[in-house]
Amino acid sequence: MKILIVEDEKNLALEMTEFFRKEGYSIENAWKKSSAEDKIAENTYDFILLDLGLPGGDGFELLHQLKKLKGREDAVIILTARGDVEDRIKGLEAGADDYLPKPFSLTELLARMHAIIRRKHNLKMNEVNVHGFILDIRNHEVSFNQQRLSLTAKEFEIFNYLVLNKNRVISRINLTEHVWGDILEINADSNYVDVHVKNLRKKLSVFAPNEWFETVRSIGYRINVGG
């Protein structure tokens, strides 16, 4: 998987690079608009992570240029500190696949990328097996030995997000933000998520033991998948 990070803030770009390298992705960096243009013209990428405010020009221009190229399927995620609703709409209309306002968490970014991959490549990746539980991501369903579990939309989203970020502690606040979206301080109260996790666990435990679904101290949750 090849990713181009177009971000002028080097510190941020390097952190993102480190994170995705560990995930096993191959990363290229562009610090300004002109070098990004060159890279896009020469190579194709699975993902282009695009900052809007770039030295030498606006990220939107870059997006328009990319969309003019024929036969390209590079997925674009706009990452910006300009959190306007208008910008979000403008970006999606210009052909971006997703839009993530800064500050974002890398785990959230990873989840969004997975969602795009699934959307683009209509593969078997739509089914994930976690300790015998099959997540059908396309239909938002979970089953165990062909038996469907009746999960609410939020319970499924929590399960899915934790599975995507398997073996990693996901804080309650991170989980809340992912499931409920970022609506200012309304979601600062992360207690609600506990209730959903509790219900989810209860539903899973009917079918199989779920000691792999771990509560990490007062921080959050982790789904452990061996190997």
Partner: protein
Amino acid sequence: MKLQLKLAFYNTLTKVVIITIMAGLILVSINRISVHHIQQRLLHKKSKLISNLSSMEINDLLTQQGTFTDYNLLKEEYIILKRGPAHLIKPKQYFRQGNRTIEGSDEEYQILIAEFTYKGKNYLLELGETTSTLGQLEHTISMYTFFILLASIILTSVTDLAFTGFLLAPFYKIIDQKLNKVNDPISFNYEGIKTTTEDFRILDQSISSLMKKMADMFSREKEFIANVSHELLTPITILSTRLENLLNDEKLSAAGETKIFACLKTLTRLKSIINSLLLISKVENNQYDKLHTISVKEVVDEVYEEMEDRLVTMDLKFTIDLQEDHAFKGNRYLFHTLLMNIVNNAIKYNRHSGSVSINGNHANGQFMLTVRDSGQGMLLNQVKNAFQRFEKFQSKKEDSYGLGLSIAQSIASFHHLELDIQSEKGKGTQVNIIFPK
């Protein structure tokens, strides 16, 4: 009272006073002049009479002593001659005003009384001339003055009103177009209002330059907001991604992990506060459009859907009573945020198994949306400060930043909505959103 009316009223009043004073002066001076003229005439007659006197005439006059010796047909004048005192050292001569009855008709006269000596004998002469004609003259003048006064008041009031109206038209136009109809300095019309009055031109120019300054400040604020967004949010992103990478380190101790998560939580809090403040600033800086036709009912249903699980968690009874929908022009995203904040408070500060209700109704031509909860309620001074930024008396929880109601307030005033909070400690809170007519 309008300036135009005040000016007209003042003009009329001064005219009435001036004409009244003038009329009074004229009346007094006419009276004095006339009396003076009469006296001059009487003196002239006296000297003419005395110079033409003969013994026969004196006897003729004296025979009718005690009565009015001589008078003309209309009793306008009379002469009385009497014998004077035996010794006359210095002849007296003076005027007086008095009533005389001649043949049954009583009239007021200006009277000259003079003593003189004729052929060794002393006489007392009384000459009178009526002043009743003078009274008539005064009466006529008063009447005329009154009618002139009345006519001029009516006439000048009308013309004053018309003229001041014409004169002040540019002024009212400036007030209307440059102040009343201006919602934000960005869309201000800098074209001058046509006027030949220097003062109005200066007023117009002053308002325009003031608006220009405000527009500059507005755009500077907009720039500042954009800078703040970028310059604050980017470092937070760097920090949070760096911390996330640290978490990937397998050698990390449990204590280290806990601390890093605490840091991430603080960063989330920082991000949330910055975003809230940015939202308020953007709303107050008019950076949102109001192009959507918003159905209150739709937004209420949406908010309910989003909040449903929280209601279930708290075991709250939730009722929506929206008999009639209300549609208005505004920003859907902002109105949604406004309602989310209010409903969220109603849930957050509720008691377990309490209730939240949303009612909408039309009263006095205005639509009012009411969110009522059975929660903790607030004291009166808490209600007063509820819209203050960072006010969080209701909650000792660290997850409240006290910006929810400030956001609600700024969104409400952006839409010209009125927010009214009624609360009773221990019973619950009611928030009314009152829509403009």
